[in-house]
């Protein structure tokens, strides 16, 4: 039965690798300026992981195939090189891989998190609440009105808890259920949670960031292709979690201006 184990395991290993090698399942097209670094890192890791995976599984399969249930009296032998060889191999192969991936990966991470947004970045506030996203644009004055959690009234469309009666800066704020942004323009998203933890995930943007209640975070990105993309919540937030979505609408600058004007008139 050792031979059978070897054969079955080899088949499993090859079949497991097949969809990866043929790119049957892969990430969608990248529409961000930083995403290529993440994709490269992913495919480098995939190459190294794939070789390790196939190497280890096939070796295991081969050894079990060859060395199981041998004839009585078969003399057992040890691998030349012994444990020292294995330890050295682990340090050299995996150690290099760890260092290389670790060091290279830092750059991709730094692109997202250590490079501050440019002063020209467009500021948009995103608020996550059970079970919807809302987005707020500062309006012509360029300033966001203050948030008053006690004034939140979803029935009347006051999702953020603004107080336009007493707060001048809030009067021209534009609130939208979809995130429209101009193409090729850096956007800084100011993330605010109304209730529990949520997350902002757009596959095509290669962005995922949690909303943390009580902690206002910011992320920035530039979209390079127009189109509509799904924003989904990826932090378990309650019974409607599976349905917590919004759209990212990447528009040409011209269309974006029109959209914003239209939205402003609806407020």
């Amino acid at each position: 039965m050792g031979k059978l184990f070897g054969v079955v395991l080899a088949i499993i290993a090859v079949l497991s690798a097949y969809p990866i090698v043929t790119h049957m399942y892969a990430q969608p097209v990248d529409i961000s300026t930083h995403g290529h670094a993440i994709d490269e890192q992913l495919s480098d890791t995939m190459a190294e992981a794939g070789v390790s995976f196939l190497g280890a599984q096939l070796l295991l399969a081969f050894f079990v195939w060859k060395y199981s249930n041998r004839k009585n009296g078969a003399k057992v032998t040890q691998l030349p090189g012994g444990a020292k060889l294995m330890v050295a191999a682990a340090f050299i192969l995996v150690g290099t891989e760890v260092l290389a991936l670790g060091v290279l990966g830092q750059k991709a991470w730094a692109d997202v998190y250590f490079t501050p947004a440019k002063p020209t970045a467009m500021q948009i506030q995103a608020q996550a609440g059970q079970f919807a996203f809302y987005f707020r644009y500062p309006g012509p004055d360029g300033k966001f009105g203050a948030l008053h959690p006690d004034k939140i009234d979803e029935g009347n469309g006051n999702y953020f808890g603004l107080d336009p009666a007493n707060d001048v800066e809030a009067r021209d704020d534009i609130v939208s259920g979809e995130l429209a942004i101009p193409v090729n323009q850096e956007v800084q998203l100011l993330m605010h949670s109304k209730d529990v933890s949520h997350s902002f995930y757009v596959r095509e943007l290669r962005i995922q960031q949690d909303f943390v209640p009580g902690l206002d975070l910011a992320i920035h990105f530039t979209a390079t292709q127009t189109g509509r993309y799904e924003i989904v919540c990826t932090q378990l937030c309650g019974l409607g979690h599976y349905n917590m979505k919004a759209y990212l609408n990447v528009l040409s600058q011209e269309d974006f201006d029109k959209w914003l004007k239209q939205k402003a008139s609806e407020q």
């Binding site: 599984q57 682990a90 209730d195 949690d210």
Partner: protein, 590 residues
């Protein structure tokens, strides 16, 4: 340690009466079986929950006949609601992680075999030992109670992230009493584990037989010992975390809840807390927990493999040192669960490095297993098949960890099915394969009867092929960006992936059904199995030097003396190609 072996008095009297023998037993062997039994109940319950989840994912509107009798609110007319899906998911995770993966390989087998493998009569603190099981049992009952309260179990996942888990019913169903029961259950569970860990450590350090130096302990004992050290620190942090969470919920404190939250249209009366504090405390336990599950598994598999290879490992010492370094590094990596949580992005890089580094000792262990097979005379039986399956599963699940250890890639893969595939393979399936391996290996010792090998092998093939069919596609889904913890995939980018989900669901049903072969084999062999000899596998460690099943005081009032390292295989001994640890005969160098 030799001086301890001189004591002749028994640690406790022979058990008398039904209660002392089978229920409130002080005997580590009975307690080990109790833990194992609890794990068995939990694993089948957890598996049924996963069936319901997989069923709901692909046929969300279909009826599960009879489920409405179990939960009127969660499954009206037998159709699972989205929130009940989350309840099932929370309970599946909690049962599997706490009551299966912690209980069976560590507390179950560890209790039974650690004292025997070091040549002692019982644990250092038999009463504590009995308490730790019964405390764990109470924790299990408290958790299960949540199924029977009107609101049902919590919907916050096994990670119970605050503030969702901390603000009560306002945040959704199951977050009131259901969540409180979860919190209390886990806090109680921690107490049981802390007592158990203390017991393991004291026993290993103080009660070894004459000649049983630390380096002469079998690898399984080493693994249980290291795990106990990890458990002592991990559960000591989860316990206060749970207490603080309970206080937030019922006493109005704000450890994990900041000000200004409007949940369920209500402004919450809390201020000053931090949701990230819960995540840090939870994962400070949560990551070592992965090793609490997998280190005993490694120990068991090493022990089974080496016996069935009929020759020494390339180096048992290197495996032990690697397990120690994994244990140590396990404290430095918890932040890799939090790369996109909003913690300082610089800490992500700091957590990434030890996470990548931990693959080095893990690779060393794997290479030693695989390299040791070279030139071996592998005995194929159910136990060794599952041990070899473990190695394969550990490699598959471990390698996907490479991706998730890198913060940049994690931006894309975090919270997708890639993560689900990764931890199910490396922590879930691998550890369960080790439990199976240990069961087929030690069952003869524990019951005095052999398990049926044909059924065992059949069970193995179902499990190996089945689990690959279930969990490999999870990785593919994750690469496309399929988000986890969603109760359905409607009208979104995930909908086209439904055929893959269907395949997984069908595979899960078949693989799960295959597990009943094991259950049948276990029960059938317990009563009708062939009589087991003292040492059916021609093994060398002390558990094989005593009758099957062992007498209540293990060594029949005698004190074993140990003369050799634990794995003297491939040598010329009086009994064959091995020399037992307690055999005074000299080992002829070949």
């Amino acid at each position: 340690m030799q001086e301890h072996s001189a004591q002749v008095a028994h640690v406790h009297a022979p058990p008398e009466g039904f209660l002392r023998k089978f229920v409130f037993s002080l005997d580590h062997k009975v307690i080990g079986k109790q833990y194992y039994g609890l794990g068995l109940v939990a694993v089948f319950l957890g598996m049924v929950l996963s069936w319901l989840m997989r069923f709901h994912l692909v046929w969300p509107a279909a009826r599960v006949p009879g489920l409405e009798l179990f939960s009127k609110v969660g499954a009206p007319g037998g159709v699972i609601t989205p929130e009940y899906y989350l309840s099932l998911m929370t309970m599946h995770g909690t049962l599997m992680v706490f009551f299966v993966l912690t209980n069976a390989p560590f507390a179950g087998f560890g209790n039974y075999f650690l004292p025997i493998q070091i040549g002692t009569e019982d644990m250092a603190f038999p009463r504590f030992n009995m308490m730790s099981f019964w405390i764990t049992f109470v924790a299990f009952l408290i958790l299960i109670t949540s199924f029977f309260i009107p609101d049902g179990p919590p919907i916050s996942g096994w990670t119970a992230y605050a503030p969702l888990s901390a603000v009560g019913n306002d945040a959704g169903p199951g977050l009131g009493w259901g969540q409180s029961l979860w919190d209390i259950s886990i806090a109680v569970f921690c107490i049981g584990q802390l007592l158990g860990s203390l017991n393991f450590i004291a026993t290993t350090l103080d009660l070894r037989a004459k000649g049983m130096t630390l380096m002469r302990m079998p690898m399984s004992t080493w693994a249980w010992f290291i795990t106990a050290c990890i458990g002592l620190m991990a559960f000591a942090v989860l316990l206060p975390a749970c207490l603080l969470l309970i206080l937030d919920k019922i006493a109005g404190t704000s450890f994990f809840i900041p000000s200004g939250l409007v949940v369920g249209d209500k402004l919450q009366p809390h201020a000053g807390g931090s949701p990230l504090l819960w995540q840090h405390m939870f994962w400070f336990f949560g990551h070592p927990e992965v090793y609490i599950a997998i280190l005993p598994a490694m120990g068991i598999v090493s022990h089974v493999l080496i016996t069935n290879m009929r020759k020494p490992m390339l180096s048992a010492k290197v495996i032990i040192y690697s397990m120690m370094s994994i244990g140590f590094l396990s404290w430095l990596v918890w932040g890799h669960h939090m790369f996109v949580s909003g913690m300082n992005p610089f800490s992500s890089l700091l957590f990434s490095f030890p996470t990548l580094t931990i693959t080095i000792p893990a690779t060393i262990i794997t290479l030693i297993w695989v390299g040791s097979l070279y030139g071996a005379n592998i005995q194929i039986n159910s136990a060794s098949l599952f041990a070899l399956g473990f190695v394969s599963m550990f490699v598959s699940g471990g390698i996907s960890g490479f991706f998730l250890a890198q913060p940049s890639i994690d931006i894309y893969l975090h919270a997708t099915y890639f993560v689900v595939g990764h931890f199910h393979m490396v922590m879930g399936v691998a550890a369960i394969f080790a439990i199976f391996s240990g069961t087929y290996f030690w069952f003869p010792k524990m019951t005095g009867r052999m398990m049926n090998e044909t059924l065992g092998k059949l069970h193995f093939w179902f499990s190996l092929v089945g689990t690959y069919c279930i969990f490999m596609p999870f990785h593919y889904l994750g690469l496309v960006g399929n988000v986890r913890r969603y109760s359905s995939f409607v009208d979104d980018f995930m909908a086209p992936l439904m055929p893959v989900h269907k395949f997984i669901t069908i595979a899960a049903f078949i693989t799960g059904a295959g597990q009943f072969i094991f259950l049948f084999n276990l029960i059938y062999s317990r009563f009708k199995g062939k009589q087991a000899p003292e040492n059916p596998w021609n093994a060398t460690s002390l558990e094989w030097s005593i009758p099957s099943p062992p007498p209540w005081d293990n060594f029949g009032g005698k004190h074993p003396v140990v003369y050799h390292d634990p794995y003297q295989y491939g040598v010329k001994g009086s009994k064959g190609d091995y020399v037992m640890q307690d055999s005074p005969e000299a080992i002829a160098e070949e």
